[in-house]
């Protein structure tokens, strides 16, 4: 039993194809940007204001993370270094796009 546990330690050896990894990260950033823009438009059309909109952004990002994890077959370790890369990276980068499109859709639908 001990020996199998030991062998598990060695799986951590960083044998990563860097190009594939970068491609994966790029895909994650793309999907985050896409989801933040779409989420912003949806939030604007539904007329969320204030805190509600940011909660919606969190929900959208959480859905994206789950979707990405599902796409990776929930074996994230074989596609990424760590869970952070799939759940946190690009989180703040999408926020600006989200706010812009949220404002845009909200103004067009509700303000005028």
């Amino acid at each position: 039993m001990a020996s199998t546990h030991k062998s598990n330690d060695f799986v951590d050896l960083p044998t990563v194809n860097v190009e594939n990894m970068q491609n994966n990260i790029k895909v994650v950033l793309y999907s985050r940007t896409f989801m933040s823009i779409i989420g912003g438009v949806i939030a604007g059309i539904l007329g969320f204001t204030g805190f509600m909109g940011f909660v919606f952004y969190f929900i959208v990002m959480a859905i994206t993370s789950v979707g990405l994890a599902a796409k990776a077959g929930f074996s994230v370790q074989s596609y990424f270094d760590s869970w952070n890369q799939i759940s946190i990276d690009g989180f703040l980068g999408g926020l600006l796009s989200f706010v812009l499109f949220w404002t845009f859709a909200y103004d067009i639908v509700h303000i005028f």
């Binding site: 062998s7 940007t33 600006l96 706010v99 812009l100 005028f112």
Partner: protein
């Protein structure tokens, strides 16, 4: 007070939407113009060679634990030998490379082109926005903000009584300028984004010389703790086989 503000639908049709559409189109135009203006410079053979050496040393560093200690030592001395190692750069030569970089007019020209292709459309758009759309309250941000944001969001209207969440047309232009970056990376592909970051890198590290990265890589290589994993793999294989048999 702020809630009483009624905005004309004409502002939406003739300010908000045109402004956003124009911003997107100008971004696309800028991308294609800079693509046309980009000159394909023939890279210097020496620089390419040094870059490749660095990549090879990096590969050695990444795979260090997969080769025996003796093999690793041999490769390491091949790279970081003080006399004729590939990563070893004489002091005076490094100076020369930098001076050469600075005196290369092609590079300065290229950078100027890139900068111009970024600055000129921005200036023109800003002037255009100022000329056509100055003084409109164009949008309302759907969340409350503190007074501190007034100068940021209501650039161009000098009214202190309007609620801060209302955005002037000029500030809407700025919001677009920053917020559309994500959209551009989607519709123009990654090239746009990487181009921007590359430009940043060039600005920051003007006169970046490969010999410096050679030295850094040499230091990194010297720091590597070699630990051959193969014996442990034998144990692991043994464990797997035992599991299969039992």
């Amino acid at each position: 007070m702020g809630d009483d503000l009624v905005l004309d639908t004409a502002i939406r049709d003739w300010v908000l939407i045109p402004l956003s559409v124009v911003m997107v189109l100008i971004g696309v135009l800028r991308y294609f113009v800079s693509k046309l203006m980009r000159s394909s410079q023939t890279p210097d053979a020496k620089i390419v060679k040094e870059g490749q050496i660095v990549i090879r040393a990096k590969n050695l560093r990444a795979g260090a634990n997969l080769i025996p200690a003796k093999a690793f030592r041999a490769r390491k001395s091949y790279y970081s030998n003080e006399d004729n190692g590939l990563l070893h750069v004489p002091k005076d030569q490094a100076q020369n490379a930098q001076a050469q970089m600075f005196s290369d007019p092609n590079m300065a020209m290229d950078m100027m082109k890139k900068n111009l292709s970024m600055i000129i459309p921005q200036t023109l758009t800003f002037a255009w926005v100022n000329f056509f759309f100055s003084g409109f309250v164009a949008a309302k941000i759907p969340f409350p903000l503190t007074q501190r944001f007034r100068s940021m969001l209501q650039n161009g209207i000098d009214l202190s009584t309007v609620d801060v969440s209302y955005v002037s047309s000029r500030s809407w232009y700025f919001l677009n300028l920053f917020g559309l970056r994500g959209l551009f990376s989607l519709i123009l592909g990654e090239e746009n984004a990487t181009d921007d970051t590359q430009r940043m890198m060039q600005m920051g590290g003007f006169g970046f010389d490969a010999s410096k990265s050679l030295g850094a890589e040499k230091d990194n290589l010297d720091l590597v703790q070699h630990d051959w994993v193969m014996p442990k793999f034998e144990q692991r294989a043994e464990a797997v086989l035992r599991k299969l048999v039992s």
